[in-house]
């Protein structure tokens, strides 16, 4: 019932707000201890977690979930160890909270700067992978926030078991167990109630497929940090080094197919040598990639099996071994193509030309813009964030990979010696 959902969420929200107050003041050592302890508890309880996961796997069979979904849902010894190690890795990251930046004197004599502080209460809405319970809770904990976790109903037993480990570790470290709360029900009305908890929740982070993210964005009264499509481009400029262009294009497309920072469209300047184009496309085909090209591409590579690319291709995030290829007249056309069809995630130019590289960096409006590097680097670990809770394709607050800092905000601090305003 709707009212029940609101009542349940209100209680969770109040507990989270109380916990957030304590977490905001928690010192670095207590937070690190809680993370290390949570890893230990997860290892100790690993057979209980696997038993709980078995219930979810059984239900998955009964409900006819497909193999990909069941693979995401599965927890085994390796995956449990990976969760524990993930928490230990978060423990050794620098604590962002309380860091003071840019403190400087003003003509009035006051010193003004920024102090980094937690966001408060973070709602995480995610789908089948139960490891998100540990990852997301760990990042929220280290950044001094309270987390309300709403996992997929198909993973409820697994999530409950993992969340219990985290809560035990919090208590044993002298921190409030309600810093990690699981929405312990599969009632979908609770998602709606969470999205309307603007008085308790400071930000919602949805992690999952497009339909989940679209629902969350449309319904939420709480600000959302979201990740939509990754239609990433590599643009090979006229002056690109041939071997580098080939390496980057092949890596960006074929290193992993189902990831948001994989290349989906390759743009090639018309002055790039025809042999270089063919070699790149041949390399893709050799890797088992289906290539769909514009008219010029197909003419240039007429010996190769290049299918016809339609406008729909330019706008598609394949997440699979399919690549669309377009030959463009100029850097301008490449930038326009990206503006029209891209999703603002990650784009890379391959060029030795200083002006072209500089212009691409400035003119392409994506969360990551690269010069002579594979789009696959768009990742919290590769950027040095240590861990990421997701990649934001939003413009406000945080853009691209979101690590601990993205889960914090800043307040102004002023240090005076009695100054008053004249």
């Amino acid at each position: 019932m709707e009212t029940d959902a609101v009542t349940i969420m209100k209680a969770l929200g109040e507990h989270a707000k109380d916990a957030a107050k304590a977490m905001r003041m928690a010192d670095t050592q207590a937070k690190n201890e809680a993370l290390v302890l949570a890893a230990a508890v997860i290892r100790r309880e690993s057979s209980e977690i696997i038993s709980a996961n078995a219930l979810d796997m059984k239900a998955a069979d009964e409900n006819g979930l497909d193999d990909a979904m069941k693979d995401r849902l599965l927890l085994n010894a390796d995956r449990i160890e990976a969760m524990a190690e993930g928490l230990e890795q978060i423990a050794v990251l620098p604590d962002p909270v309380g860091a003071i930046d840019h403190l400087r004197y003003r003509p009035s004599g006051i010193q003004v700067g920024h102090m980094r502080v937690p966001l408060g209460v973070i709602g995480i809405i995610y789908e089948s992978r139960p490891n998100v319970t540990a990852d997301a809770a760990g990042l929220c904990l280290k950044s001094g926030n309270a987390a309300i976790l709403r996992g997929g109903s198909e993973a409820i037993h697994s999530n409950r078991a993992v969340a219990a480990c985290l809560r035990r570790a919090l208590v044993d470290s002298g921190l409030p167990q309600n810093a990690v709360q699981l929405v312990d029900s599969t009632d979908r009305a609770l998602v709606g109630a969470l999205l309307k908890s603007e008085h308790y929740v400071d930000v919602i982070i949805p992690r999952g497929g497009k339909s989940l993210i679209e629902r969350v964005s449309a319904e939420s009264r709480v600000p959302v940090i979201k990740h939509l499509d990754g239609i990433c481009h590599v643009y090979i400029d006229a002056s690109a080094k041939a071997a580098m262009a080939l390496n980057i294009a092949v890596n960006a497309k074929t290193h992993r197919y189902g990831v948001c920072n994989a290349m989906e469209t390759l743009l090639i300047h018309q002055d790039v040598n025809a042999d270089v184009c063919s070699a790149i496309i041949q390399a893709m085909i050799d890797k088992g990639v289906e290539v769909r090209g514009c008219e010029k591409t197909r003419m240039l590579c007429e010996d190769l099996d290049v299918k016809v690319a339609t406008d729909e291709d330019w706008a598609t995030e394949y997440l699979s071994p399919v690549l669309s290829v377009r030959i463009v007249e100029s850097l301008d056309t490449a930038v326009e193509h990206i503006a029209q069809f891209g999703s603002g995630h990650t784009e890379s130019i391959v060029t030795e030309d200083y002006e072209a590289g500089q212009r691409f960096l400035r003119e392409v409006d994506s969360s990551s813009v690269m010069w002579n590097a594979s789009t696959r680097f768009a990742d919290g670990f590769e950027y040095g964030l240590g861990a990421e809770i997701g990649i934001s394709t939003d413009r406000l607050h945080v853009r691209g990979p979101v690590g601990l800092e993205g889960l914090t905000t800043q307040k102004w601090i002023v240090l005076g010696s009695g100054q008053i305003r004249q």
Copy 2:
């Protein structure tokens, strides 16, 4: 009609998006020239602006607007000169766009950093003051954004005249005139349509009274940077220097009454000397401030005219010569009082005690937290932003005074030499 409003807003949105594309790439010199030229055009057209304003003033009389509202609406030679000077001041501020921060090498060999870029299209919804038209447009222009301005209907003629000056200056500087668009209609449905323009508008900034801001927050599908109440506190700790405490309290309350960073509640530690308390309250009364105190305050200052403070007082932003005073047992009580009744705007502690100051800075969760300084310093100019478009009491994206940087976002940039992901 609703549909008309949507159609009008769609056209404005499309124009703004096109203009934003050009503004994003506009160089610093062109933007500065446009600002300086806009100032010159405003000075040249000052008699036209005053004639347009006279129409608004006449309507204000006919509609029985009160004197405060008419004063806010009025444009005279001085105020027009101030608008022009404001634009010139924005012109000399450093351009935030394109600035690259924290570029550093990663173990993979790539360099990773942040580049500051415009937000895109900014909707400003404001009330009677027509100078906001120039101020807000100037800040959006310098930060490389396109602005859609929706001023109060009572200022429509004035806003039209000022916006025309800005648009002329844009054209004459080779920039798109649609970087500044005024919603040239008093139809209230247009506000609703603007708030639902999430496909065209990146952020909405409402400037005005509480009811405007609450309406905007409740209805908007576009992210909002908003400014709610300023219930600011000064806390005088046991170890405060008496003269400093008096100076800061009097300045925070009486320097200006109607501003959001004025003190509304004074908290005094119970160990502060009774003579010091009386002297502060006496000084307030001498300045014409009505003092409302807790029971202890009234007992302590029984010779003075201290009225009874209720719970409603603690939660009130007076914006007038009224002050509530509470004597507290400890720093903890002060911090709790602020958490319960404050609005998260600005709070200041007066203390010589290192631990108390450090704790206050860390534990008070407001957009500005001060130590031995007047709350009146919470201001974009005083903080060195050069100018401000408002003060954010939100937690995400930007908090406290919002200057040019708050109107931008960041993208990641990666500089490589052919790196691929292993």
